[in-house]
Symmetry: C2
Subunit: 196 residues, 2 copies
């Protein structure tokens, strides 16, 4: 009834996180009713991102240059903040409470998910500890997987003699980093403590 | 920090109905992390829709042919169901309770919105009443604007001697057509009554 092009567009949009058939139909109708103002700009932005965005070979972040603009910024402090995901990195950057570099794990140790130490890519992290890095901050979620990942990384990092800290007060038990407000992130960052 | 391509993509996604900056960031990260499986198929679906979907010159619906597949289907009954929007048309089609054709107004009379009779494009509707149309169904929302639009259309259609009905029981007061479940739509369709 709506034509195969509309049907397949609704299907693609409905697969996006947080969306379903109803919201996808609403979005598709809006896009089709404002072709110049919405549909074409969205297509252009998607094409530009698809063509230019790459994963940073140093930190695992996303940018249109590799190394990313954070890794390549000489003004960043010689610290590495370890995060689970790019979403968590973005949340910390938005809060403007940290001026060092990052390391994106892309996942946590997970007994249930069958994700073991070999999946963390720790070698890529350890290769960055060239003696100039003064501190590694574990900004991992306060969940079972986050805690066990932090514990594992602390053990692996110990031989390097680098200062290892964790975000402290303010991260709610069971909460993720990404959804924290900026004030909470600022408090957690300033009150970080030595990992034991 | 995230690169201009990602920033402008997040901005475009955040403008879609029902989305905001947080959900847009989540969607963009998912798209970028599954380039082959999500980003490229979405781009393809958007391009196909942008290139092929047109507004039906007869009924105002959307399809990749003009007249649309509903207007062009000889098996459809000689009835016209008047709806506010394509979204409402799609809801009725999904419910499979009606096998006639449609007329999409694209909006209602609105004193507040400053939308008068001349904005309804009634001429395009009246041109369709060539004597073969047996019934016109007013499937408009049970709101003030929906009721006044139905009243106005009833007056304009009266001289044509066509049977004019409205959806009856089941449309909640203040409710829109699009969000109704299929059972309610079926009841409202089968219990439609003559418009007075
Ligand atoms: Zn980087
Ligand atoms: Zn049509």
């Amino acid at each position: 009834m709506m034509g195969p092009e509309i049907e397949s567009l609704v299907a693609q949009v409905a697969r996006l996180p947080g969306l379903g058939p109803r919201s996808a139909r609403r979005i598709v109708l809006r896009l089709l009713s404002e072709r110049e103002g919405r549909l074409l700009p969205l297509m252009g932005a998607l094409a530009a991102a698809a063509q230019r965005v790459v994963v940073c070979s140093v930190c695992g972040g996303l940018d249109s240059v590799d190394p990313c603009s954070v890794c390549g910024d000489p003004a960043r402090e010689p610290m590495i903040c370890i995060v689970e995901s790019v979403a968590d990195q973005w949340a910390l950057e938005r809060a403007s409470v940290y001026r060092g570099r990052y390391h994106v794990l892309g996942g946590l140790l997970s007994a249930i998910g069958g994700r073991g130490p070999e999946d963390l890519g720790v070698g890529r992290l350890l290769a960055r500890l060239d003696g100039s890095v003064r501190e590694v901050i574990l900004a991992l979620p306060a969940t079972v997987d986050g805690q066990s990942t932090a514990h594992y990384l602390t053990e692996r990092l110990a031989p390097f003699g680098v200062r290892i800290t964790r975000l402290a007060q303010g991260v709610p038990v069971g909460g993720s980093i990404e959804i924290l407000d900026e004030g909470t992130l600022a408090m957690a960052m300033s009150a970080r403590r030595l990992a034991e």
